[in-house]
């Protein structure tokens, strides 16, 4: 196995970490939509943090190893259309994902605040924050764009 083979493995493993985290966040998005209880919302926090770690590892791993491969392999260049498209889509997915994360983190922080202040009953404000339409829209865009990256990587338009 060459060094580039190892980098390719790292690239694909990172992509799986990123997409796996997106799936994890979808499950949490659906789970918190059904609750208005601070304790239930707050309990999702540690699982969300696992997703945050996977997203960070996946995002950094895919871009670093992907650019490395585009430079190292004779068949491809960093300025190939499909490579540039992947980098742009990666940035869009990351930014929209970050915005979704901010929305849902606000809800989790609110749940913790309510718990600390002893308000453990249902909260209409928390329910509204858990059902954030901005967060849902941003996560949907982030996921669709990530799917577009996968399509771009497999079909490699222009190659």
């Amino acid at each position: 196995m060459s060094f580039d083979d190892w980098i390719l493995s790292l690239h694909v493993l990172s992509a799986f970490a990123y997409m796996g985290a997106l799936v994890l966040f979808w499950i949490l998005v659906v789970a918190v939509r059904r609750t208005d209880l601070p304790v239930v919302t707050a309990r999702m926090g540690p699982v969300a943090r696992t997703g945050n770690v996977a997203v960070a590892v996946g995002a950094v791993g895919t871009i670093v190893s992907g650019v490395w491969l585009a430079i190292s392999l004779d068949a491809y260049e960093v300025w190939d259309g499909w490579v540039i498209a992947a980098i742009v889509l990666w940035a869009i997915s990351l930014e929209t994902g970050r915005r979704a994360g901010t929305e849902y983190t606000n809800a989790m922080n609110k749940a913790e605040e309510l718990e600390v202040s002893g308000q453990t009953g249902p909260s209409a404000e928390l329910a509204a924050m858990n059902r954030t339409s901005t967060g849902l829209l941003m996560h949907t865009v982030s996921s669709i764009v990530a799917l577009a990256i996968l399509i771009d990587m497999i079909w490699k338009p222009g190659v």
Binding site: F16, I27, T50, L73, L150
Partner: protein, 151 residues
């Protein structure tokens, strides 16, 4: 995928897309299930979330992954020949032996969730958690084998 693109025919693209997408959904469901089961510390809601992530997300992901893989394999007529490469062998072992383990974990976990309702212990869901972690590691090895093709 980059090297594979150099040698694979274009008509593999769609089945390959299904295969990889299914595998990503499977890994996502497994990651969520394992995380929720590890971090639950006896919390019934999180234990249920972990179990349902495996059943409702991980299992459909496995099916999509398997359909994509076998579509390519059958199209090339490889299903009538012995497995010729180490990486394909690793893929089959992890997918099919992994499915057996996965199904055992779902049955055991299902009983565990039922027992949870009756206020009994969480031991069976701990078994599901351990199997999920083992499967996550096995999937990482399979992804490495699929991309690096060690033979």
């Amino acid at each position: 995928m980059t090297f594979l693109a150099e040698i694979r025919p274009d008509e593999w693209n769609f089945p390959l897309f299904l295969h990889v997408l299914g595998a990503m959904i499977l890994v996502g469901g497994m990651l969520t299930g394992a995380s929720a089961l590890v971090l639950a510390r006896g919390d019934a809601r999180l234990l249920r979330l972990g179990y349902w992530s495996l059943l409702a997300v991980g299992l459909p992901g496995w099916i999509l992954m398997w359909v994509g893989a076998n579509w390519i394999y059958a199209r090339e007529g490889l299903d009538e020949e012995p497995i010729a490469s180490v990486w394909v062998g690793i893929g089959f072992v992890v997918a099919e032996l992994g499915l057996l383990l996965f199904l055992i974990s779902l049955v055991v976990g299902g009983i565990g969730v039922y027992r949870l309702r009756a206020g009994k212990g969480t031991g069976l869901l701990k078994a599901t958690m351990v199997i999920s972690i083992v499967l996550l590691v096995a999937y990482a090895v399979a992804i490495w084998a699929m991309t690096a093709k060690p033979d």
